[in-house]
Amino acid sequence: MKEICVVDYGVGNLFSVAHALEECGVNVKFITRPEDILSAGKLILPGVGAFGDCIGEIRKRGLDEAIVEYAKSGKLLLGICVGMQVMMTKSFEFGEHAGLDLISGTVEKISPTKANGDSHKVPYVGWSKLQVAADFIRFDKVREEWCYFVHSYMAKPENPTDIKAHYDYNGQKITAIIAKDNIIGCQFHPEKSGLVGLNFLKNIINN
């Protein structure tokens, strides 16, 4: 059975992610040490809550350098939600925080106003339909890609081609997936996005 390593750095509940991966037919191993990250075959970096707290925990545990080193190996790295955001250069959530800088760009607050100036709700919580870039083939295309999001901040890569999917929030394009070589990040929660989410995970693991 295929194995996938999930970094456990003390934030959030990893069980939903683990159940979803098991449903995809892989063996899940939680890892906590830098050496386990370096020896992983496929790596998932989850994350919930505030950017500063997440990156702080990663650094405190000495995992930041190992993740950066691992990313150079060409093996799969998937960041989920804040786990994706910490792969960016820096974030402006509650101050300014440096990220892992695996993908150049910033993490910024979703605009609290619509294109026409009216206010709308932030955090955004709910299901949205993805617009997926033609060169990103990780969905089955058998149905529309509806995914579940819970967030107030979004990644803004410097290089627009690093954005592989977005959704529209009242006229604002919100980054949903970023990818560069072996590094993929998704803002939505694949473990809460029904069959679409499970298929996304399966395709990423098997690619």
Binding site: H19, K121, Y124, G126, R143, W146, Y169, G194, L195
Partner: protein, 252 residues
């Protein structure tokens, strides 16, 4: 506003899925896990498990059901009933819940809303409101499944809860619940237009038209359905198809 959600609401008297009328006269429907599975496969956007005896008898047996469900069902799950403290919330989240709903405990000690929102985020903190009409355009907050009055006015209570950090309102009409005669749209509209957080309309749905109307005319962000699903009056995919025909975009 995000896409309207169709939520399956499962009221639990452990170990069974039950259903009442006006939240009383409870009848056993079956195994909650089997029903949860069925609604997941029909395309439910979310599940709500509401333990309807826990706040009376101080029990938390629902967590076993949540834990089992979380292994097979990959959509957001809200758990309510009997949650009295931050540590109860933690237990529910650890069992696999994404959000929790509180009612009685928030009435007794409104600061609990702040504590939960600060600790786990507003998106996790759902205020469950049982509303019963007492005068034209006025509703009173009830708890203990619509049995206990609180003297609180629904409108001022939901506004206070929003200020304290509630991220969502699960609004159940005690008058309409289980009657299949339609949601209390006047109540739903009043609350949805008074707060800036999502409002889930619950109680009374008996037809596809009821579900469409409450989204279109009362500005509800979501509908929670029990009766019509449990008794197989219609399936979630049928509701979604009907909503599409009514020009409401929903997740397919």
């Amino acid at each position: 506003m995000s896409t309207p959600r169709i939520i399956a609401r499962l009221d639990i008297k452990a170990p069974n899925l039950i259903k009442g009328i006006n939240l009383e006269g409870l009848r056993v429907i079956g195994n909650p896990g089997e029903y949860a599975n069925k609604y997941y496969n029909q395309g439910a956007d979310e599940l709500i498990y509401m333990d309807i005896v826990a706040s009376l008898y101080e029990r938390n047996s629902i967590l076993d059901i949540v834990r089992e469900t979380a292994k097979r069902i990959f959509i957001p799950m809200t758990v309510g009933g009997g949650i009295r403290s931050v540590s109860d919330v933690e237990d529910s989240l650890r069992a696999g819940a994404d959000k929790i709903a509180i009612n009685s405990a928030a009435i007794k000690r409104p600061e609990l809303i702040n504590e939960i929102a600060n600790r786990f985020g507003a998106q996790c903190m759902v205020l469950s409101v049982e509303a019963k009409k007492y005068a034209a355009g006025r509703w009173e907050v009830y708890h203990e499944n619509g049995r206990e009055k609180t003297g609180l006015d629904v409108l001022s209570w939901v506004k206070e809860a929003e200020t304290r950090g509630a991220g969502e309102i699960l609004l159940t009409s005690v008058d309409m619940e289980g009657t299949a005669k339609g949601f209390d749209s006047e109540l739903t509209k009043l609350v949805a237009n008074s707060v800036n957080i999502p409002v889930i309309a619950s109680g009374g749905c008996g037809s596809l038209g009821h579900a469409i109307d409450i989204i279109k005319t009362a500005n509800a962000d979501a509908v929670a359905l029990g009766h019509v699903l449990h008794y197989d009056k219609f399936k979630i995919n049928e509701i979604k198809a009907a909503m599409c025909d009514a020009d409401i975009e929903v997740r397919q």
